[in-house]
């Protein structure tokens, strides 16, 4: 492959069309999700959900999760395992979801997910052709980072869905932000497809940058869950104390359909904790690359500093989770600060701080 190979403009144009089509389908998915929420709000289950979480908060002993599957041999059934939550956690069942049992709402919800799958495929094809058009990894400038970033976020969300994780609630917030991200990418950040400058022409680009984008996208899902946890936690606390101020009707309608605070918190923790070693590796890979490109593996360049800060704040978060007095909301704030650091590193440092990593293309 010749590095100076002529840009295949045709493919680059196709890539742009694909990204625009993906956006159009995401808009449809967004509308379908809105319909899901609207229909869900007229549902009886939805209306009573708030009351349910308050009055019928299941006593600790009776939260039963039956794990029933066909066993190894046809004769045996998998035994029932009874689980109970740790002491001190609020035992509130998960909300019924956006459609809240409303059939039509549920139909729209499924429709939204199908559209998301379609949009994701277009999105993926757009990123792929973009890379193909220049015979390189499609992440050489901020337009390419942003399109790949939201693609990975949606991909991870779909994988979680396929693995039957309780993430369907995430559809609307995720699609909304994906649309924002893509809108920003095609307008402000757009850069014509072209070859890389020699400094970026290294196989570490594949490893380091793809990992950074993937970690970011997953941290993002964690952050969305954390933010929602904070809302839902406050909501549950208010409902649990009927003498205090009660949530408004809109908050009630929306939040009562969401998963329990404990579930959200657990999901966010698992995602953040699982991504953390990969984020560590991303930084190490960057250091190895810096060593071969600039002659030092660590030089306190702004991008390096902010990766380090992000890493330390996530480490803080993990420590906080291990310390009794810092669990819950305080740890959640740390997780959000950590993600904001990641975001600043990504947008802020690329655009406003100049250092060696100045290749935003803008």
């Amino acid at each position: 492959m010749n590095i100076a190979a002529a840009t295949n403009e045709n493919l680059a144009n196709i890539s742009n069309y694909l990204v625009y089509s993906a956006m159009a389908v995401y808009v449809l998915a967004f509308l379908a999700h809105i319909a899901e929420w609207v229909f869900g709000s007229r549902s009886k289950v939805g209306k009573t959900a708030a009351a349910l979480t308050a009055a019928d908060a299941a006593p600790a002993d009776s939260v039963k999760v039956a794990v029933k599957q066909a066993g190894g041999t046809a004769v045996l059934e998998r035994p029932k395992v009874v689980t109970r939550s740790a002491a001190g956690t609020r035992d509130v069942p998960d909300g019924p979801g956006a459609a809240a049992g409303d059939e039509q709402g549920d139909l729209y919800g499924r429709f939204a997910i199908s559209l998301t799958v379609l949009a994701f495929l277009l999105h993926f094809a757009g990123v792929f052709t973009r890379g193909w058009s220049v015979q390189r990894a499609p992440w050489g400038n901020m337009y390419e980072f942003s399109t790949t970033f939201s693609m990975v976020a949606v991909g991870a969300y779909l994988i979680f869905l396929a693995a039957k994780k309780n993430v369907r609630w995430m559809g609307l917030p995720l699609i909304t932000t994906v649309l924002l991200d893509l809108g920003l990418a095609v307008t402000v950040l757009y850069t014509e497809s072209d070859q890389l400058v020699p400094a970026l022409d290294s196989y570490w680009l594949w490893i380091h940058v793809s990992l950074a984008i993937t970690c970011g996208a997953l941290f993002y899902l964690g952050a969305v869950a954390t933010i929602l946890y904070l809302f839902r936690d406050r909501f549950e606390a208010k409902v649990a104390d009927p003498s205090g101020p009660q949530p408004g009707s809109f908050a009630k309608s929306v939040l009562s359909r969401m998963p329990a605070a404990a579930s959200l918190d657990k999901f966010a923790y698992r995602v953040n904790a699982a991504v953390f070693p990969f984020w560590t590796f991303t930084i190490v890979a960057g250091a190895i690359w810096a060593e071969s490109a600039w002659g030092r593996y660590w030089g306190w360049d702004p991008k390096e500093v902010w990766s380090f800060i992000t890493w330390v704040v996530y480490a803080c978060y993990l420590h906080a989770r291990a310390t009794a007095g810092w669990k819950g909301r305080k740890a959640a704030y740390l997780a959000i600060v950590a993600f904001l650091c990641f975001l600043f590193n990504y947008y802020g440092v690329n655009m406003f701080v100049d250092g060696l990593h100045s290749y935003s293309g803008v």
Partner: protein
């Protein structure tokens, strides 16, 4: 399960024992001892009268305080605060220019902010990462870390030696629980259970009618490995900073370099290493290639830089050929040679007033922009005027690889490759000031004692030349012929120790982290008890560090695995028995 309470109320201490030592994390002081000595009070206790009493009291007071400080410093809460301070402390260094990163930017900042700069200086904000306060944060953090690792390691060794705790009395109070009845005798079931657990690499033993098993010790091992690896990283980083030496060298195509101090253009020795530690080697730059995009949206941006070199080790080692490119330095022992930048050197022949060749050869010019508009100075020290008197000559100006054309009105290069090379110079004569011994920038002219040649009309003499053209100085003072141009490349030569250790530490940290975060440490108990009518009730319960979705799954797996050895009585019978 309506009759379970008959076994009596389970004490919380029973459960607590089951949970104890499931990790080596220190017990949080907030939770464990809310009434502890949180506020420093008097540690000395009663003070006896007299000097002896006062000394004893002071001693007790001091040890009390030291202990208290140590306990605080090594607590998780303080570790948390220090970590957070570390991240806060890193921020200014990314927003304010740093001496260690870019001295020129710091100087510019100083000029622009006359009131702010002295304050920043006081706070060491131009050297954040070597400042007293930043060092204090990370040194405290690492003391705290040491104070944390050591006891935890001991504790972990203890846990590896000890057996998992005995089964709590009421297994159904544990986070995951399952039960069934079988007709096999209890001791047979327990034996099978222990065998099965061991096969699944649980540490298991049977006591008091129950098997106690534990697995996932690698989690703690990973966590300790991670924290120890942080130390390795820190030390490797410090070694790297202290024993680092680097320097720069500009080499003309066809010229060479050998790694001794005198050959460097600039050299920055490390705190503990200097010229005498330089690895012996040398290289010649055979050919330099730079390619740029000729079309497309990023026309003019770089596509390839390559320096083809021949290098040898020692004084006269076997010559080897290599290419140095961006991202691909040449490594010789502990030293790496990086390609930093490149440019053009116009080749000129300067004839003095006597008609003799006073200078002949390439003069490197420094690039000023992306299209390699380059500026420089030609200093001719051995020139004489037409009377044979010493009169130094100097030329200053620009080299432009691709001139925009007569009408363009711009002396800026239009493209970085030499498509239409033009040299634009003005000329001086007089005293270059090089004999004064004051170091001078070779790319700039010190014109204090020089006089500019004037044109006939009175304006300064300035001329634009194509290769082969000559600039004649007035009054027979000499001439300069622009012969052509050559390329140069500049290299950074750095020697750094401890890189291997840093990489090893980082890798160990990642593996440790993965172990610490992906492995669950968990305990499983199996109890089998026979009742009066000869049936055996099998109970399985599991407990993890945190609630985990995997634990119930695993417990179900274990139960399924135990079924062949303890076949359940069919559901109907069981229901019947219960009713």
């Amino acid at each position: 399960m309506s009759t379970t309470d008959q076994r009596g109320a389970t004490t919380d201490s029973d459960l607590e024992a089951a949970t104890s030592q499931l990790s080596t994390a220190p017990v949080d002081e907030d939770a464990a001892a809310p009434q502890g000595q949180a506020v420093a009070g008097s540690f000395g206790g009663v003070r006896r009268p007299g000097t002896a009493g006062a000394i004893a009291w002071t001693g007790r007071e001091i040890t009390g305080w030291v202990r208290w400080i140590w306990r605080q410093l090594t607590s998780m809460r303080v570790a948390l605060i220090l970590l957070f301070l570390l991240s806060l402390g890193s921020i200014p260094g990314s927003l304010i220019p740093q001496t260690s990163v870019d001295q020129i930017k710091v100087d510019r900042f100083r000029e622009q902010h006359e009131t702010l700069a002295p304050i920043y200086d006081k706070l060491q904000l131009f050297d954040v990462y070597s400042s007293v306060w930043f060092s204090a944060i990370y040194i405290l953090l690492f003391i705290s870390l040491a104070g944390c690792i050591v006891p935890r390691s001991w504790q972990f060794v203890g846990q590896l030696r000890a057996k998992p705790p005995k089964a709590p009395r009421r297994l159904d109070r544990l986070p995951a629980y399952t039960t069934w009845q079988t007709e096999k005798p209890a001791d047979e079931v327990l034996e099978a259970a222990q065998r099965m657990m061991k096969k699944r690499r649980f540490r298991a033993y049977t006591s008091g009618g129950a098997v106690a098993a534990e697995k996932g010790y690698l989690r703690e091992a990973g966590n300790l490995l991670f924290h120890i690896a942080l130390f390795v990283l820190l030390i490797a980083f410090a070694v790297g900073q202290l024993w680092k030496a680097d320097g720069g060298k500009l080499v003309m195509e066809g010229d060479g370099f050998s790694n001794t101090l005198t050959q460097y253009d600039d050299f920055r020795p490390g705190t503990f290493s200097g010229a005498e530690d330089l690895d012996p080697f040398g290289f010649t730059l055979n050919d330099f290639t730079a390619k740029f995009a000729r079309s497309g949206p990023q026309k003019g941006s770089a596509r390839e830089f390559r320096a083809d070199v021949t290098w040898w080790k020692g004084a006269d080692g076997k010559p080897q050929k290599s290419a140095i490119r961006s991202n691909h330095p040449l490594t010789v022992d502990d030293t790496k040679i990086y390609l930093m930048s490149h440019g053009y050197a116009p080749v000129v022949t300067v004839t003095d007033g006597k008609g003799e060749t006073a200078y002949k050869g390439p003069v490197p010019f420094l690039p000023q922009d992306g299209n390699l508009t380059s500026s420089g100075a030609i200093k001719v020290t051995d020139a004489k005027d037409k009377n044979g008197k010493k009169d130094q000559l100097a030329f200053q100006g620009f080299f432009v690889p691709t001139y925009g054309g007569k009408g363009s009105g711009s002396m800026f290069s239009q493209f970085p490759e030499p498509d239409y090379p033009v040299l634009f110079l003005t000329a001086y004569h007089g005293d270059l000031g090089l004999d004064a011994g004051i170091p001078q920038n070779v790319y700039q002219l010190e014109t204090k004692n020089m006089k500019q040649f004037k044109r006939k009309g009175g304006g300064p003499l300035a001329q634009m030349m194509l290769p082969g053209e000559t600039m004649k100085l007035p009054n027979g003072a000499g001439s300069l012929k622009f012969e052509g141009y050559e390329q140069w490349a500049s290299f950074q030569i750095s020697q750094q120790k401890g890189n291997g250790w840093a990489l090893g530490g980082a890798m160990a940290a990642i593996f440790g982290l993965a172990g610490s975060l992906f492995i669950q440490r968990r305990r499983v108990w199996v109890r089998a008890s026979e009742d009066a009518d000869g049936r055996t009730t099998v109970e399985l319960a599991g407990l993890g560090r945190s609630e985990s979705a995997k634990l119930p799954e695993e417990l179900a797996d274990l139960a399924v695995a135990l079924h062949p050895a303890a076949p359940p009585v069919s559901e109907d019978q069981e229901e019947g028995a219960r009713a």
